[in-house]
Symmetry: C2
Subunit: 351 residues, 2 copies
């Protein structure tokens, strides 16, 4: 890898398209001067934005395409008319061809995942890719996966998620042996989903070198930061992520309401302004914007579709984090562990 980090951007993705993507790239470039951007999208829209940003323009190469995947497209639709030629496809394709280290898009998640799978293919031994999210916690940050790439997971897939999640945590959090928990309901061994219990048995028995399996965790353990990596199938994971976002927004509204209702409260707010600013920053969903697609022959990062330039910059910077440490090579190595899954023992579970 050269010193440069080469980032392919789907400039048309997201609710706001080039306006947010280009402004986000400018912010990321200022913080990471080693960035190089490959931009894909409508040059009529993008060129004027680059004209106004000479530094970004110097660090970018723009490839024009008329075709953009729409936010409301179904994955199959997007593949049908957007393959080979849409801005989303071309960004992914730059990773495939080795021209870019990562691709970032704020476009439609389903289409981005379908195109990524179609073009990059899954890693050996991995049947289904996953989306990993960074989750702010009381201890710092955790990784939660899968947050919606696929629905349902058997025990083997959950173990794969644990391995990929741990590899990501090693890199992003600089940990030797990240702690891993399986999301379940009720912490006792006898409770919860059959596949999750079976995955727990496999993880306890395999004693994988790259992770420290800590058993089951519940929904409220995520925010507590009980483990570095929380593993779940995509339906429950997506619901957990969205529910947490909704709760944070709800409390933010309560807080705003409470602090403006009376004169005393408004005075108090003025005094504590910098504390509130700090709080707002901690609660800012833009800080942890970006889901990493794992399990593919290449790294693709999904930004929230509705984010602004600051949030899009965070997604690019997440990409810097994983590229610098060569996430993909580490996941490949971890998946290539000698005995992947031992035969199932009958009965008796080692604690």
């Amino acid at each position: 890898m050269s010193d440069k980090v080469r980032i392919a951007l789907d400039a048309m993705g997201g609710d706001h398209g080039p306006a947010v993507v280009i402004a986000g790239a400018e912010l990321a470039l200022a913080r990471h001067p080693e960035s190089e951007f490959l931009l894909y999208g409508d040059s009529g829209l993008i060129s004027p934005l680059l004209e106004a940003r000479p530094a970004l323009r110097a660090a970018s190469r723009l490839t024009h395409t008329d075709i953009a995947v729409r936010m409301e497209d179904k994955p199959s639709q997007a593949l049908r008319y957007g393959r080979w030629k849409s801005s989303m496809w071309l960004a992914i394709d730059a990773v495939k061809k080795g021209e870019a280290d990562i691709a970032v898009s704020a476009g439609n998640t389903g289409a981005l995942m379908a195109m990524s799978k179609f073009n990059l293919k899954t890693l050996p031994g991995i049947e289904r890719p996953a989306i990993a999210a960074l989750w702010p916690t009381l201890r710092g940050e955790s990784i939660v996966l899968d947050v919606g790439a696929s629905i349902g997971a058997d025990a083997e897939h959950l173990v794969d998620l644990a391995v990929m999640g741990a590899a990501t945590a090693r890199i992003l959090f600089d940990l030797e042996r990240p702690t891993v928990g399986l999301l379940n309901i009720g912490a006792e061994e006898a409770k919860g989903l059959e596949e999750v219990r079976e995955a727990g048995r496999l993880l306890r028995e395999e004693k994988l070198p790259g992770l420290d399996y800590r058993g089951f965790v519940e929904g409220d353990d995520i925010g507590r930061g009980k483990v570095d990596v929380v593993v779940t199938e995509g339906f429950a994971g997506n619901i957990a992520l969205k529910t947490a976002e909704g709760t944070a927004r709800q409390i933010g509204e309560y807080l705003k309401g409470a602090m403006t209702r009376t004169l005393r409260a408004r005075i108090g707010y003025l005094f504590a302004r910098s504390a509130f600013r700090q709080l707002r920053e901690r609660m800012d969903p833009r800080r942890s914007n970006g889901g990493v697609f794992l399990g593919l022959n290449g790294i693709v990062i999904k930004s929230h579709g509705g984010t602004d330039a600051e949030g899009f910059a965070a997604a690019i910077e997440l990409g810097h984090g994983v590229v610098r440490d060569e996430l993909l090579a580490k996941i490949r190595a971890a998946l290539g562990r000698p005995s992947k899954h031992p035969p199932l023992a009958i009965g008796g579970v080692a604690s």
Copy 2:
């Protein structure tokens, strides 16, 4: 129903046993003088607590039992040694015998559900009971179910949950036709879990009189209060509930930290004290303590095991709300709707 509301209490349930249960009953009695309590548990522990509370003592009848279900018991264990004679069983049995209108316990959820099913049996047409939770939202409150009574649900069970949840919302929120949403990932028809999509089709086609089906909702729509009733199977529902609780606690910690860090912030806090108190009350998990078991021939309410007297009182008061309006009769009537599930049409989904 007499004017009195007769409440059977498992006085031994919860992390703190009689101390919290009796103190909670006292609070509830003060607010609802029409309460009558049937108390079950160790009279050696309970009698002294009643001695100190003459009003409560006058409104209570205590039945002694040595046997209490422990918080860590498995449901099967609890049934084996606690059936016929534990405080939990006796409280449920009072409902069965018609001596009490509702039973409330802060004990072990799995055991309480197992005993409730075993003793009260499910309503005709209902295979599995559900736990409904009250969820504070930006618009007021919603009902979310199932939050953990059983794992997985086919389309028919989800429709039953919608019907039972709507009956509960009609009563608790005094609504004619509560709005109902199915929890899913992605709002488009094509997305999400097969069973959820099928349940959506059934709800759209049946056009049930007692509810207004509004389609899919996502995790962040719960706190927004997008619908009055959110329907989901128990695994995802439990994870959503616990994740929201965890997020609220996490933000509470951030807030506490921010407001004590600097002198200016502390001064601000003093000024805005009453606003903070209001905020704390809105975020107080005790306010919405109590899960209602639905789908049984009798109403059982589960309080959080770790709650205090205020929280336990809230669970009792939730019971008052549902008894007064005869929840059970309304659920029976709603389930006895004429055409329960029409034959499945092939293809074509009416919007």
